[in-house]
């Protein structure tokens, strides 16, 4: 299987999306969004992988000629994680407000244009 890691990333993302669509609890929805976003971490890291490559921390045994894995996608993954944390916290705060106002966190039980 040559593209195994790529399929894993898509699988994780689709699991998250399916979870969002079938969710009966807004907290569950937010967690599913995090799961879907985790798929992108796997994809980014898989794109930068190289067989035999080491971590891109230089000095000592690792010189400019040593094969390393791609640090660019690792930096992008770091950005991705930070944005994911920000989005998750913001959405959870919104869920708390919805729960207070409507006393329900099932998206199907919230009225139109309010969910």
């Amino acid at each position: 299987m040559n593209h195994y890691a790529y399929f894993v990333s898509v699988g994780v993302m689709l699991l998250g999306v399916a979870g969002i669509a079938t969710s009966r609890n807004l907290v569950h929805t937010v967690v599913c969004l995090s799961v879907a976003q985790s798929g992108t971490y796997v994809l980014l890291i898989a794109v930068g992988f190289q067989y035999g490559g080491v971590a891109p921390i230089f000095g000592g045994q690792v010189g400019s000629r040593t094969p390393v894995v791609d640090p660019v996608v690792q930096a992008l993954t770091l950005t991705d994680i930070v944005v994911s944390a920000a989005v998750t916290s913001m959405l959870l705060a919104l869920v708390i407000q919805i729960a207070k106002r409507h006393r329900a966190i099932d998206p199907d039980r919230l009225g139109r244009l309010e969910g």
Binding site: T22, F58, D70, P71, V72, T79, V83, A86, M90
Partner: protein, 262 residues
Amino acid sequence: MTRRIRLIVLGVGIAAFSAAMLLAFTGMPRFGGDVHAYRDAAVAASYGHDTANAVSSINFDQRGFDTFGEETILFCAVVGVAALLRPVHRERRREVSDAGHVLESTGLLVYVLFPLTVVLAVNVVAHGAVTPGGGFQGGVILSTGIHLLYVGGRYSLLRKLRPLGWFQQGEALGVVLFGALGIAGAALGSALFANVIPQGQLSDFISAGTVPLFNVAVGMTVCSSVVVLLASFLDQALAIRAERGNGSGPDPRSGPEEGTAS
């Protein structure tokens, strides 16, 4: 939209998305191959500025402006959460006592781990340009260490050791520091977020020019952000209670108080 229609739409979407992805992946370079053009360019640039940790070099040197945007996103999210989680109508804040039972082993573990975590966090931030780690990771570790006190059952101790106003200002200060370092790059060097400080020797503690300074600024912001975020959520869970009864109109006692006022 009924549940059934939603599931059908979901199925069609997943099938189409999977097909598109399958098509895309078969056209991609081989997994684990040794052709990484961006990697080669980034490693060369990282060596050019004597930064041992290539990921830090990319985040704070080569694409510093992007990271500034990322930090601003985090900052805005925290401000949004703080605004959303203020006490609203018919809510009041109650005193939280330290009642409740905590296992002695948990308490001991917290006493052992708290200083260790704080030292580890400072270490991770300080060596961000030399070893794996950096401002983001160190900031999260530091805020986790602070919240170990809550795991040990000491909410009042947590509140004493965590003057929230300081963290709110620390967060803003971190963002300002980051921007100021970027502007300093423009003023003293060639471009915004340029690495203007002499870079020294690769993998020395003092090396990589501005990268360690950016790490400190980001560490400050991230730690303060997580502390403020968790303080808002803990406040909701522990301190804020709805008024009993269904009195109408705003309650004069429910105004913003210490903690969530921003």
